[in-house]
């Protein structure tokens, strides 16, 4: 099962030209700089943006094919807009029921109660839409989109209009959405942190064109993509909780390349977490350093090197098959005589837990 989408949308100073094949499961992130066409692509998937030449098939359902165009209200989708989009003439409950009441009974898959509980908005039902905080409004909007039991949930930067505290408030709900309801999500974002945390599949968009489409972890480790030129370019690593150190209050996280030691998190053993290792926080040594304060040191092999600017070089390492990125000065790389195939030790100064 997949989504097949081909669109060509011409605007006065902009052209979106994409040909995509996406998995219908998990979260697919559409990532790119402002103005790259992310939102236009999402709107085209929803049928809100009309283009004359296009093809869209979601699973077995044909939504668009040149002359054929299924209008938005007949597509089995949910849409969460970037800014508050609640109907201000209705209270929260009426907002939630708006789509539900227009749905054929046999299409009910998500109960309203489940959506209300999942988003934690049970105490808001009688309130007016205009009285809610930004974070509450967006949670209601997500629940409202879920209540129509969509086969595909489209989200256009649902966190962009919120401050950091509100983002952290909503993030766990987005994660549980993914885990508890089996609804595929297409998630547009311009924040590397958000897609790194949420997306399983990642599409990079630039200037109306698809730069890459693939597994999120793999995409982040590709040093030939624009992502790697970001100041905070990072490798994503999946690890499992191996245990805790009660004396020093630490948590051990195992991955195929070794064991990370991080400050303690209350996570059960066996739990899978996603780690983010920023390339500029990784340094390389030829010998295994013993007299260092750095705890996370892994034997690796240099796989690929790409110069960045005139002074720096981005290096992709393989720690027993798991990619780690390191950004060094060109001089350091020359002093260590780095080349693909060379064995080095990667010293990871800091690591962030994403979930």
């Amino acid at each position: 099962m997949s989504i097949e989408a081909r669109f060509r949308i011409e605007r006065i100073d902009f052209l979106l030209d994409v040909d995509l094949n996406l998995p219908i499961r998990g979260i697919t992130g559409i990532f790119g700089p402002s103005g790259c066409g992310k939102t236009t692509l999402l709107r085209a998937l929803a049928g809100l943006e009309r283009c004359d030449t296009g093809y869209l098939r979601v699973g077995d359902d044909l939504w668009q094919d040149n002359g054929y165009f299924l209008p938005t209200h007949r597509r089995a989708l949910g849409y969460v807009f970037q800014e508050a989009s609640l109907f201000t003439h209705l209270n929260v409950m009426r907002n939630l029921q708006y789509g539900l009441r227009r749905l054929d009974r046999h299409r009910h898959r998500v109960s309203l109660d489940a959506a209300i509980q999942l988003l934690g908005i049970g105490h808001l039902l009688e309130r007016n839409a205009g009285e809610l905080s930004g974070g509450e409004r967006q949670r209601v909007a997500i629940a409202r989109a879920l209540a129509v039991s969509p086969r595909l949930l489209l989200m256009d930067e649902p966190l962009a209009a919120l401050d950091l505290a509100r983002k952290h408030e909503i993030m766990p709900y987005l994660e549980s959405l993914h885990e508890e309801l089996d609804i595929p999500v297409v998630y547009v974002s311009h924040s590397p942190g958000e897609v790194a945390r949420l997306a399983d599949h990642l599409i990079l968009l630039d200037n109306g064109r698809v730069v890459s489409s693939g597994d999120t972890l793999e995409t982040f480790s590709r040093i030939d993509l624009p992502l790697a030129r970001d100041d905070k370019a990072a490798a994503l690593i999946e690890a499992t909780v191996a245990g805790h150190d009660d004396d020093y209050n630490l948590t051990y996280l195992d991955f195929p390349g070794g064991r990370f030691t991080v400050t303690r998190r209350e996570l059960p053993s066996g739990h899978t977490v996603r780690l983010r290792v920023v390339a500029r926080d990784v340094s390389l040594t030829l010998a295994h350093q013993k007299d260092t304060s750095i705890l996370n040191i892994f034997p690796t092999v240099v796989e690929e090197m790409i110069p960045q600017g005139s002074a720096q070089v981005m290096i992709k390492l393989s720690a027993n098959g798991v990619p780690i990125l390191a950004r060094l000065t060109r001089k350091s790389a020359a002093l260590l005589d780095l080349a693909p195939g060379k064995a080095v030790y990667a010293q990871v100064k800091s690591v962030a837990l994403l979930s």
Binding site: H73, Y79, F87, R102, A145, V148
Partner: protein
């Protein structure tokens, strides 16, 4: 004290204003919707035509309507060939004149309200399975409610004060086309200042109360102000 003829004039005036407002809301809503949402580049031509009664002397509008609706006019003549009475100097003729005369006062507030609602709520409704017609009635109209209130009150109040158009196409037939403003004029002409006072006072209070309720209500809705 006002006489029975004065009360008849009041009744005709209120009836005329009510019928005119009703027709204008029915005709003006789709027109305002179209104007608020069309991307047609010559939309401004239609907007100018609708706004004409704001600047045109009512007698000019009345004169042309009289020509058109009279027995020798294009509409009046056509009606005569079907065996119908021409509309000039009838209550129906007054309604037609009033509809033109008060058109901008109804269309413009509704158009502005629809514009203020914007595309987004309708897109949201579409993603929630509402057809365009469904979304129009359950989202666009409720959200534009303050605009409708303004339109209804302005349309009604403006028709109450109509004088020039009525005089031109309705004449001054007591019990049929004589409205309050013309009755007042008649009283002043006949130097019956006492009766003119009564009628003017009634119109003044009526208009004031209506506008006051409008502003009070619209403050509560707070989406749209005139």
């Amino acid at each position: 004290m006002p006489t029975e003829a004065d009360f008849t004039a009041l009744a005709i005036t209120l009836q005329l204003a009510a019928i005119t407002t009703l027709i204008l809301l029915l005709l003006g809503t789709p027109l305002a919707w179209w104007l608020a949402r069309t991307r047609w580049r010559y939309r401004f031509v239609i907007e100018s035509v609708i706004a004409l009664p704001l600047v045109l002397p009512p007698t000019v509008l009345g004169f042309y309507l009289l020509i058109a609706l009279g027995p020798n006019g294009p509409i009046g003549g056509l009606m005569q060939t079907f065996g119908w009475q021409p509309l000039a100097f009838t209550f129906t003729g007054l309604v037609i004149g009033s509809v033109f005369y008060s058109l901008p006062f109804v269309v413009q507030p509704i158009q502005a309200a629809f514009k203020a609602v914007g595309d987004r709520p309708l897109e949201v409704a579409a993603t929630l399975r509402a057809s365009p017609l469904d979304a129009f009635f359950t989202v666009a109209i409720p959200l534009a409610k303050p605009g409708f209130l303004t339109a209804a009150v302005l349309g009604f109040a403006h028709t109450l004060g109509e004088f020039g158009v009525v005089l031109m196409i309705g004449g001054n037939i007591p019990g049929e086309t004589q409205v309050l403003s013309i009755a007042i004029y008649e009283h002043v002409e006949a130097l019956e200042y006492g009766r003119a006072h009564w009628l003017s006072g009634m119109l003044l209070v009526l208009s004031f109360v209506m506008l006051m309720s409008l502003y009070a209500l619209n403050r509560r809705f707070s989406l749209f102000r005139t």
